[in-house]
Symmetry: C2
């Protein structure tokens, strides 16, 4: 049972991150990747905090992954110098920012899945002393971005090799959960096709937390990108990827109303927990209260239901919620609270809200 008051020095709602758990999560997956000879390239979207990215690198990660140039700029400002930007970059302003970033970090690579993007990158890097390395994004079943076949990957790689300022460096995919076999086959076929025309394909990057412990079973992959593992969340618990004890970020909320039997209202709504369901019922799980369901959220209220015969809470009591999807929670908060033992340190979520 979790009883109030918890963290009396903090105001609710807020996110509290257990640093011992973060350490364990980072170290455990680094050890797994080291054991299996997989290069780990954590995605910073989950924490959006340079200090955690540095901790991941210090533990042995090869570099980091960002999705937006704005995120990469924040990380570069903090001294991180090996970044993969897994996004199709388009438009003169973004290309100029990409080029400026490239010119100030040791290693910056991007992905592309179509010719207009490749041509734009070539234009922006045509006068670069060293070429921009591009990974071709492949759709291995995720149904999002990516070329649709190994043949299409080959053709786009040949186009990249024919244009100034850029060079082909490998393949990238964000697979569907359970899609490891499709990744291995797609990458293997593309590698053979590339080899047939003499194009090297040194980097084969896959990713995803749901299949994190099966990364070593996927043939032809050299690198794994992974974000959520640093905090973990309810969606990963539901998949059996982690346990409650591995969930480092909890939303601290307060019961503000007990209006009727079987109902409690908390001060964390969609502005903190978000509406992401990821296929689950309810909007998070209340630590220590399996009898309670988070049945609804409005922007500033969470609605908890439980058996009307129970009285699990008092008004003003604090509860911890493990969110369905922790990455999006990080993006809702300007600051989070880092806890180690009795120490609490409040830090900015420096790359929060970087949509550009």
């Amino acid at each position: 049972m979790t009883r109030s008051p918890q963290y009396p020095e903090l105001d609710t709602p807020c996110a509290v991150i257990n640093l011992d758990t973060v350490d364990r999560n980072i170290d455990a997956y680094q050890a797994y990747c080291d054991k299996h000879g997989i290069a780990l390239r954590p995605h910073i979207k989950t924490h959006k905090i340079p200090a955690f990215a540095q901790q991941q690198l210090d533990a042995g990660a090869k570099g980091i992954t960002c999705q937006k140039i704005g995120e990469a700029e924040v990380m570069a400002d903090a001294g991180i110098d090996d970044i993969l930007l897994t996004y199709n970059v388009l438009g003169d302003r973004k290309l100029a920012r990409l080029r400026a970033l490239f010119d100030r970090v040791k290693t910056l690579r991007v992905v592309a899945d179509n010719l207009p993007v490749v041509k734009g990158l070539s234009r922006a890097f045509a006068d670069s002393a060293k070429p921009l390395e591009i990974l071709i994004e492949c759709d291995t079943g995720g149904g999002r971005c990516g070329v649709q076949s190994p043949q299409a990957a080959l053709e786009l790689a040949q186009k990249i090799q024919s244009l100034p300022g850029i060079t082909f460096a490998g393949l990238m995919t964000y697979p569907a959960a359970g899609g490891g076999d499709k990744v291995a086959t797609f990458f293997g076929d593309a590698m053979a096709a590339l080899d047939g025309v003499g194009i090297a394909c040194p980097i084969r990057s896959s990713g995803g937390t749901p299949d994190m412990w099966k990364a070593h079973e996927v043939a032809n992959v050299t690198e794994h990108r992974i974000g959520t593992y640093v905090y973990n969340d309810r969606s990963l618990m539901a998949r059996g990827v982690c346990g409650e004890v591995d969930c480092a970020l909890r939303v601290l909320a307060e019961v503000v109303s007990l209006p009727a039997p079987g109902r409690a209202i908390i001060d964390a709504g969609s502005k903190v927990l978000t509406s992401d369901l990821l296929g689950l019922d309810g909007y998070g799980c209340v630590v220590g209260h399996p009898e309670v369901a988070v049945v609804g959220l409005s922007e500033e209220h969470g609605i908890l239901h439980f058996d009307a015969a129970l009285s699990p809470f008092e008004i003003g009591e604090r509860i911890e919620i493990i969110p369905n999807h922790v990455c999006v929670v990080s993006n809702m908060l300007d600051q989070v609270h880092l806890v180690r033992g009795n120490d609490i340190k409040t830090v900015d979520v420096a790359a929060r809200g970087k949509v550009l």
Copy 2:
């Protein structure tokens, strides 16, 4: 048809707000409230921008509604001096902030639905020269906060009247959609009970955009709180409350990939549009493209589906999306772009992310 390029001076994804539409929305509902003798108290949660709150007041609104103290502080900093805080305030730090805010604005009222909240308010205002006015929140079918019966409202009002520093000023509810009759009955019964013991009940505040054009049909209500009407959104179009032409905020996004027939990927994901469905299919509607569905969002990508025989988009083309729920979109963005004719002005969403 909406063809690119649109707003070449802006980077995507972003939110573009048509000021002519905002003017029309504000003026039309103010005229409705004036005609029917209803005090309008707009909820700033939709825009979170002091200049729009001031425009609502200048048009004739009686005051504003905020949900969080942090929002009210931003509005007070901008000179707004009549604020209703529709939230149960708990805890010494929040009560101290509430008191400080009260001492610097002309009018600040709060709501309460339970005794611990009322006692806390009394403690914080016991030495105040003028008492804090409290509205009692009533659950008229919304199933969120609120006392459950007119009798419970009476008893809490009597308690408020017995405590120092605070005074009862009326009733407040956020009704379920279509719940006007229940509001009228609950408020009427509570008013009669209060009148029976000589307690005045001058303010009876209801709210909500879904039933905005029926507010005059609800007996016993003196004030209507409403947020979304300033921008409108897809959920309100689906309810027939507004048309597409009334939707002032559109998310400008760019097609970054056309990976397969019938699929386009845009650069607006849940970090801009959010996962709010509000009972709808899909995550927004693409202006000018009724044949296209926004079938999925990840954090930085939106997935559009359409008939595989169609080619509605080119890579790099910009589209406008009317979001399902516009209030939550405002909360995702540090800045938005205000458009009038050919002029574009970029402003901070000053009360964004104020969860405390």
